[in-house]
């Protein structure tokens, strides 16, 4: 059985509609499990927490074209929390940017699908990240360039909440406000956990929304696993164009969402799903197949 057949097996003869964000989110989790299992890789908790955000973006919010990844009028998405790169790779593959089969090479010797998201040779990846705190400044620069060119496209940037420990995030937050970048939409995957502990036990972020508001941003709080609510939030964020203020969507999520024993357990920032744990996770995911 090929990698593609294995990860699509739960659908049987049922057609796979990747334009349905629920289907795409499920596929992101299925690939996230399989990719970290094959590679013995990390970050499955982060991949699962950002699954719906990524799926909603790639199933209609983002204006992108798999047949022309460098289309000048495309929306730009930077995954600043690059360690969840498998989610973006999975979404791109399922949306036709490159073959699904290639996902099996994640982390492998000689592979272009690095553990942290890389653009080199990967159609559809806008920008390589991996060191935290880099994405929002670059996204702000792209948005500033687009604004100067009076372009229609927008820039989206997905950050982690733990990533907001980085000072460069707040430098860019100041700049995006100063330059009135209402074509910039940041999304924080707010799963309240970071590498070693909960955010509040590390460097407390709360009152998180108030911080962004104080920096001059529109703030939208949303259940980051509710596809309909996310679509409404993105519609609101898009409608903020013309207000002269950037928008941040605080997507309240659960790290490891979708597999009961991974949820809210810091272990699954690094732990790789193997053996019984892999099998148990697979059973839980298959039961949720939309």
């Amino acid at each position: 059985m090929t990698y593609t057949e294995k990860t699509h097996a739960a659908f049987g003869d049922h057609p796979i509609d990747t334009a349905d964000p629920r289907v795409l989110a499920w596929l992101i989790r299925r690939h996230g499990l399989e990719m970290t299992h094959i590679s013995r890789g990390s970050h499955i908790g982060a991949i699962f927490s950002v699954a719906e955000v990524t799926a909603v973006l790639y199933s209609g919010v983002l204006r992108v074209n798999p047949a022309d990844p460098a289309w000048p009028e495309r929306d730009r998405l930077i995954l600043s929390k690059g360690h969840a790169g498998a989610a973006v790779y999975a979404a791109l593959a399922e949306r036709g940017f490159f073959p699904v089969e290639e996902l099996s090479s994640h982390y492998a010797n000689g592979s272009r699908l690095s553990g942290h998201v890389s653009h080199k040779g990967v159609p559809g990846v806008e920008f390589s990240t991996g060191s935290l705190g880099h994405g929002l400044p670059v996204a702000a620069g792209m948005a500033l360039g687009g604004m100067k060119d009076k372009a229609d496209w927008r820039v989206y940037c997905v950050l982690g909440d733990g990533e907001c420990d980085e000072g460069s995030v707040w430098e860019a937050a100041l700049q995006a406000h100063q330059y009135q970048l209402d074509n910039l939409i940041a999304i924080v995957d707010h799963n309240r956990m970071q590498s070693l502990d909960f955010c509040e036990n590390t460097l407390a972020l709360e009152p998180f929304g108030d911080k962004w508001r104080a920096f001059g941003w529109h703030v939208i709080d949303v259940d980051g696993h509710d596809v309909d609510a996310l679509q409404t939030a993105f519609a609101q964020a898009k409608a903020n164009r013309g207000t002269g203020k950037p928008t941040v969507i605080l997507a309240h999520t659960t790290k490891g969402k979708g597999v009961s024993f991974m949820e809210n357990d810091i272990l699954w920032h690094y732990r790789t799903p193997q053996g019984d744990e892999y099998e148990a996770a697979l059973v839980e995911l298959e039961a949720q197949r939309p």
């Binding site: 920008f127 991996g130 880099h134 929002l136 702000a140 948005a143 100067k148 430098e171």
Partner: protein
């Protein structure tokens, strides 16, 4: 050099309306003509060098040539990872400009002494490193730099340095070294604004009967290997001078080339001896204190020429 840079940049900005200058809230006396003439091509990123550099990468990704501008170590070491990951890895046209290479801000202290920047930037793949020696070289380099793809680093001195070249540098091509004085006993190679000291040292040496060739290297990566190998054939002693650590910078680059070339000539490096500056003073005072002003270059060169030639004799 600052004023030569601004003049050259103004000419280029007139030709390319997408050329964009981003400053880290510095350049009060230098950049004003630019922002007054080209406000749409100017961005003040605030005192935020990491984000300034990421912002420049993002702007460059929209089809612009973007310069970042600050002083001392701020546009380089403070944001080296943004230069590496965001700019260089993505092959973006970002040109990093530093005013104050070496001891320009001598009295301000170690934080403002840029003495490792050349080595650090030179280590990054795909980054071209320009080290002009005087305003004439700056004027020649700026248009070439803006047409050189990818990330470039331009290390400037201060304002008001004398021009060492007698005539404008015409038709300069990357990475051509510039011979400013011909000689027969020793070649003294110079990178950056310390060229005034190198040139002055050669005159002092002439008074002592030593004929020194002076060659400026306005670009250390790539470096003019043809010139280096030619010099190594003509001279038994080569002295390198940089207002910078002797580790990994210009002298290091020369040694790499000549060691691989298999030359019999000896290379003597003048610069900071792998230490941080811990005293302050004028630029010229610190050059003297750290043994790289014209007197030191002259005296150290004489000692090296007089010492027995180890190894090959």
């Amino acid at each position: 050099m600052r004023d030569a840079f601004t003049r050259a940049l103004m000419r280029e900005a007139a030709r390319d309306p997408r050329l964009t200058l981003v400053t880290g809230d510095l350049g009060f006396g230098v950049l004003r003509p630019f922002w007054e003439t080209y406000p749409e091509q100017f961005v003040n990123a605030g005192i935020a060098e990491q984000s300034m550099t990421g912002l420049a990468a993002g702007l460059a990704a929209t089809g612009r040539t973007v310069l970042t501008y600050s002083i001392g170590n701020f546009p380089t070491l403070r944001c080296i990872e943004q230069i590496r990951n965001d700019c260089a890895y993505h092959d973006l046209n970002v040109k990093v400009v530093c005013v104050g290479g070496g001891f320009v801000y001598g009295s301000l202290g170690m934080s403002h002494h840029a003495t490792e920047d050349m080595a650090v930037l030179r280590a990054l793949p795909g980054v071209t490193v320009f080290t002009p020696g005087d305003p004439a070289e700056v004027e020649a380099i700026v248009p070439v730099m803006l047409r050189t793809p990818g990330v470039c680093y331009l290390r400037l001195g201060r304002g008001g340095e004398p021009t060492v070249h007698e005539r404008p540098v015409k038709d300069w091509r990357l990475p051509q070294a510039q011979t400013l004085r011909e000689g027969t006993d020793v070649a003294i190679l110079s990178a950056g604004g310390i060229l005034t000291q190198t040139f002055s040292a050669a005159k002092m040496l002439a008074q002592k009967g030593v004929s020194a060739e002076v060659v400026s290297f306005p670009c250390i990566k790539p470096i003019d290997t043809d010139k280096l190998t030619e010099l190594a054939q003509r001279f038994r002693h080569i002295v390198t001078v940089e207002e910078h650590s002797i580790v990994g910078g210009f002298g290091g680059a020369v040694c790499e080339v000549l060691a691989e070339h298999g030359s019999a000539c000896r290379v003597h490096r003048i610069g900071m001896e792998d230490v941080y500056s811990s005293i302050v003073g004028t630029q010229q005072y610190l050059r003297g204190a750290y043994q790289m002003d014209d007197n030191a270059i002259c005296n150290r060169t004489l000692e090296w020429l007089r010492a027995p030639h180890k190894g090959t004799e």
